[in-house]
């Protein structure tokens, strides 16, 4: 058991360490300019030294991401309920949703910026737009994938439509909703950064651009490291919420 846990954390770490070591050695030997490719040690030291700046720039990105994701849940789940339960809504909405999804978000970012301005709301809108689709599709799939045996049981007990929805369909769809949410939260970070790239004065995405423009390679890379750490943390938060809300999935076996 202990050796299993050890193995599961040691091997992934080992891979990362090897790559970082090779990277470090390469930058030493090649003498490549830090603007083009800073060494891992440089990036790490900037990540720590400029902690204040990085943390300060993390907040806007974090807020944009979380609000966009929350809005995607708030609008996406009820929409999925409509799509899953009404044939009319399904026929009307699905093509629109798919059409919306096939528009490259980078391409509409400038338009969003025109509509919502340089502030928080345009980043929020972009984070929402990319996070929204996986939530709707996965939730709708989950709601229509209720085991027929459970529906028949509820029917045999004279359950109302509302009871079937709340006590059978919704809990049965939870694993799907969380699967969609995990994809959505990582996409929401990307959406927020797209927004920051196109027009912004704050955020980690903006910092990457600004550092690059000032030929400060190590800072740009440090901002990237922080961004990816942010994505991982948010993903872990959703995974934790899943564990807490679905304890039966992790119940130990006798």
């Amino acid at each position: 058991m202990n050796s299993q846990i050890l193995g599961r954390s040691v091997y992934p770490l080992l891979g990362v360490v090897v790559i970082l070591a090779l990277w470090q050695i390469y930058t030493w030997l090649s003498g490549i300019s830090p603007l083009v490719l800073p060494s891992p040690v440089q990036i790490a030291s900037v990540s720590i030294k400029r902690y204040d700046l990085l943390l300060q720039q993390t907040w806007p990105t974090l807020v944009e991401t979380i609000l966009g994701f929350a809005l995607a849940l708030l609008i996406g789940i009820p929409l999925a309920v409509l799509v899953a339960n009404s044939r009319l809504f399904n026929l009307v909405l699905y093509p629109i949703l798919v059409a919306m999804q096939s528009i490259p978000k980078v391409a509409i970012a400038p338009i969003i910026l025109v509509w919502f301005g340089l502030g928080l709301s345009s980043k929020l809108a972009l984070a929402f737009l990319v996070a929204f689709f996986p939530i709707v599709v996965d939730t709708a799939t989950g709601l229509t994938a209720t085991p027929p045996g459970l529906l028949e049981l509820a029917h045999a007990l004279c359950a109302s439509r509302r009871q079937v929805f709340l006590k059978v369909q919704m809990p049965a769809a939870l694993p799907f909703i969380f699967a969609g949410s995990k994809v959505a939260i990582t996409l929401a970070v990307i959406g927020a950064v797209i927004g920051e790239f196109v027009g912004s004065v704050t955020g980690l995405g903006n910092l990457v651009l600004a550092a690059n423009a000032q030929l400060d390679g190590p800072l740009a890379w440090a901002a990237l490291v922080w961004l990816s750490a942010l994505g991982i943390l948010l993903f872990a938060a959703v995974a934790l919420a899943e564990r807490l809300m679905m304890p039966w999935e992790h119940a130990s076996h006798h």
């Binding site: 045999a156 007990l157 009871q163 809990p171 679905m246 006798h254």
Partner: protein, 280 residues
């Protein structure tokens, strides 16, 4: 559970067809099935006659088995009795009500346990109470008593995924009984279990029945299961279903595993086999 214990010896005088003889006309059947017929309309195909005509009576406290080959329409018949699907014609009257939709005072056990993975064992058993909204304080106690009866006390707060198939089906049995149904409908309830678990569950069902005096209608394709459990066995022909034979099982309760080796038991199995066209 609501029904008073039925005095089963001497049993109600019945003819071989299951019809009540004239001297017993005072005893009204609990369930009346008359010329029940079912045709499935299939778009673009010839319609499918699932049940030709089936008629019999069911008496309160009885356990009746519908025995027949796979796909013969016995499950369709049970689902009609449960009000889950409509009949094409005929009379299905249970407890004085013409059954056209599911009845809240029926309990149902399916071939699969159909437990909700997100609910604990106790919450699964209490599901019917929750749906029907009559959560008197006694419900939790009743659920606990039932779980004790099936040997699952201590597992109240386990999740279904932590239980074996046989244990899950026992939970399903408790769930079907928790709201004290007037009629228990069972659709090949032990069909998915291994032989030993199955025999255990059969004895458990007999035990529960002795304690609750529940009226039970059970679908099975096992001859020995049908004989072992039932007061009456309606042997169905292959599709379209008709009643080939209606066998009164005169073996005394309580039945024990040894009962399976009694000559009378074998004789009844033989008779059912003949009705099914398996033996001569």
């Amino acid at each position: 559970m609501i029904e008073p214990a039925i005095q089963r010896d001497p049993g109600p005088p019945k003819s071989r067809s299951g019809a009540v003889t004239s001297e017993d006309s005072s005893r009204r059947p609990f369930g009346r099935f008359e010329n029940v017929h079912k045709t499935f309309k299939r778009p673009g195909q010839a319609s499918l006659v699932a049940i030709d005509t089936v008629s019999f009576n069911l008496y309160a406290g009885q356990l009746i088995a519908l025995l027949g080959p796979s796909g013969c329409g016995k499950t369709t018949f049970l689902r009609i009795a449960a009000g889950l699907i409509p009949k094409t014609s005929g009379i299905v009257e249970i407890n004085g009500i013409e059954v056209e939709r599911p009845q809240p005072d029926f309990g149902m056990v399916f071939q699969q346990p159909n437990l909700m993975p997100w609910r604990t064992v106790l919450k699964n058993v209490l599901f019917p109470i929750e749906i029907q909204g009559d959560a008197d304080g006694g419900a939790v106690q009743r659920a606990a008593d039932l779980l004790l009866l099936v040997g699952l006390s201590g597992f109240e707060h386990s999740y279904p995924s932590q239980l074996s198939g046989g244990m899950q089906q026992r939970v399903a049995l408790c769930r079907a009984l928790v709201h004290q149904p007037k009629l228990l409908l069972m659709d090949e309830p032990f069909g998915a279990l291994d032989e030993l678990t199955r025999m255990e569950m059969q004895d458990l069902l007999l035990d529960i029945r002795a304690k609750t005096a529940a009226t039970v209608m059970l679908v099975t394709h096992s001859i020995s299961e049908a004989i072992y459990l039932s007061d009456e066995v309606a042997v169905f022909t292959s599709r379209p279903a008709k009643v080939a034979d209606f066998i009164t099982v005169d073996l005394p309760y309580s039945r024990r595993p040894e009962t399976r080796y009694a000559p009378e038991f074998t004789e009844l199995e033989h008779r059912a086999g003949r009705a099914l066209g398996i033996t001569r």
